[in-house]
């Protein structure tokens, strides 16, 4: 007898309830709307939480207290910031390409929301179990660079254009190593679908049972995803001392907030991908042979495991930001093309050999 209620049962109950009241097509439409609202709520809540957590962590790492004034321990600070951004006016420069200027934040936001679709949050909690999940996320997230280039170009500002060019070059080059790092795990689990990759880790997470190639791939993926996010130490696209704010220099109010939101959404999605592909998604931690320990771990719900792993990766990315100094543009390109890319190509060959011989656990 199972006492706990899983998320899957809740969604099934909602589904059968809607189908009993409405026509199946109408029920399907309502479910689509509900799923969309759920994603938006999740992303907004996560963004507010992540902004607060990042400011607090940054404070602690620099022997400060971080935000303390608004609410208890400054907990209302992020919400106050959101209210401020909502009330501000959206300025549009006179000599800009106005249509492109207004379209760019929407492109960036839509792309970052689209990447959430194939993520598996817990057993059976997935919006679209597409059979090419990992590849879909890579393909769609490569679109975000277009929004950044649009924003930088249409602002008609030299800082914006330079920031957009740097950001574009950075994202396009770091995508290669990021993709190769994912290929390592795709080869070992023999599937591109997110649920398949999670299922393949039922007897152990890839980072544990995949030996050296997966560990190299994990480290490469974390570095490249930090670079794709334009976050420190790779934030020279919006280096405030050189370029004011890069491609979103001219944006204000809600339009700026959309760039900000999509940046945090991308960070959240990439952490979720890393948690799914390398750390087992919602699979609990098991040690072969220790039955009691494994049963105890099974009692922790999948969603707690999933968000725990995601927050661990998010913490790593925040930690990087307050630890490493910013790279120069030549160091950035050298790191990708002379170190990361050759290492990941050799790593893929190595991993293919191990996958062929079946040497992983």
């Amino acid at each position: 007898m199972q006492l706990s209620i899983s998320l899957l049962e809740i969604t099934r109950a909602i589904d059968s309830w809607l189908n009993s009241i409405f026509h199946p097509h109408v029920a399907f439409g309502i479910e689509l709307v509900l799923a969309g609202v759920a994603v938006i709520l999740l992303v907004v809540a996560m963004a507010v939480l992540m902004v607060y957590a990042e400011r607090k962590l940054a404070g602690f790492m620099q022997m400060r207290l971080g935000p303390m004034r608004v609410g208890k321990y400054g907990s209302m600070q992020a919400i106050a910031d959101v209210m401020k951004l909502l009330l501000k006016e959206c300025l549009v420069p006179t000599n800009s390409d106005k249509m492109m200027f207004k379209l760019a934040p929407f492109v960036v936001t839509v792309v970052s929301f689209m990447t959430i679709v194939p993520i598996a949050f817990a057993r059976g909690i997935q919006l679209w179990d597409i059979n090419i999940g990992v590849f879909y996320i890579t393909a769609v997230s490569s679109l975000s660079v277009i929004g950044i280039l649009m924003a930088g170009w249409s602002s008609n500002n030299k800082y914006s254009l330079l920031g957009a060019m740097r950001s574009g070059a950075q994202i396009v080059s770091y995508e290669l190593s990021g993709g190769l790092a994912l290929i390592v795990v795709v080869m070992m689990s023999g599937t591109l679908s997110i649920s398949g990759i999670v299922q393949a880790q039922a007897d152990g997470w890839w980072v544990i049972k995949g030996h050296i190639p997966v560990i190299i791939a994990f480290v490469t993926f974390i570095i490249t995803s930090t670079a794709e996010l334009n976050r420190a130490p790779f934030d020279l696209a919006e280096a405030e001392s050189e370029l004011t704010a890069g491609y979103h220099t001219e944006y204000s109010g809600m339009q700026f907030a959309m760039f900000f939101l999509s940046e945090y959404t991308n960070m959240f999605v990439l952490s979720m991908v890393a948690a799914t592909v390398f750390l087992g998604g919602w699979m609990p931690f098991h040690i072969a042979g220790l039955e009691g320990f494994n049963h105890f771990m099974d009692y922790i719900p999948g969603i707690v495991w999933f968000f725990g792993k995601t927050f661990f990766i998010l913490f790593l990315i925040v930690w990087f930001r307050w630890t490493f100094p910013r790279l120069r543009i030549d160091q950035l390109l050298k790191l990708e093309w002379k170190y990361l890319l050759p290492v990941s190509i050799i790593n893929v060959l190595f991993a293919a050999f191990i996958a062929l011989m079946g040497w992983y656990l």
């Binding site: 059979n131 769609v140 277009i146 280039l149 396009v172």
Partner: protein, 170 residues
């Protein structure tokens, strides 16, 4: 008319409209963006046909790769923000007649072909089967064209490096 037919017509209308806009606009950066939307629409049609893998390839290669390259090359040209000059009347006539000729050829082929409705099972479109066929050298596999194209691309890459490399003088 089923929902997928309606979606098909909406998506194809978007593809055609954005394609036409990318040809007729006089701002070159906007032309690139309209082309981007047109290509995304084609990826949508692939998804409607259940070809997920091809759709993702379309987005990754054409949208994430080629359009980004086009935008970068627009950025590197001078006065990319100005409107292009109006085309000459001669060129409008020449372009329109070429387009009309192309349309006549396509329509001719289209109306001559007798489209048959088959009851055969759909082909296997998973990434696994595409990969198998790509590297197969027995059952009508594509390993030969695949290898030739990869060799061509490798030659092009090496050529680019040879052209771009700076030889340091002592």
């Amino acid at each position: 008319m089923s929902a997928s037919t309606i979606i098909f017509y909406i998506v194809s209308a978007l593809v055609l409209v954005f394609g036409a806009m990318s040809v007729f606009t006089r701002k070159i950066f906007r032309a690139a963006i309209y082309l981007l939307f047109s290509l995304i629409g084609i990826a949508g049609i692939y998804i409607l046909m259940n070809m997920d893998f091809i759709a993702a390839l379309q987005v990754l290669i054409y949208v994430g790769g080629i359009i980004v390259l086009i935008i970068f090359s627009i950025f590197l040209t001078h006065q990319a923000g100005d409107k292009l000059p109006k085309p000459l009347f001669k060129r409008i006539v020449a372009g329109a007649s070429m387009a009309a000729f192309g349309l006549i050829v396509v329509l001719g082929v289209f109306y001559k072909t007798a489209f048959k409705v088959t009851t055969e099972a759909g082909i296997d479109h998973s990434a696994r089967s595409i990969g198998r066929q790509m590297l197969d050298y027995h059952h009508h596999g594509y390993v030969y064209p695949f290898e030739i194209v990869s060799f061509l691309l490798l030659a092009a890459l090496v050529g680019c490096i040879v052209i771009a490399v700076k030889i340091q003088k002592k």
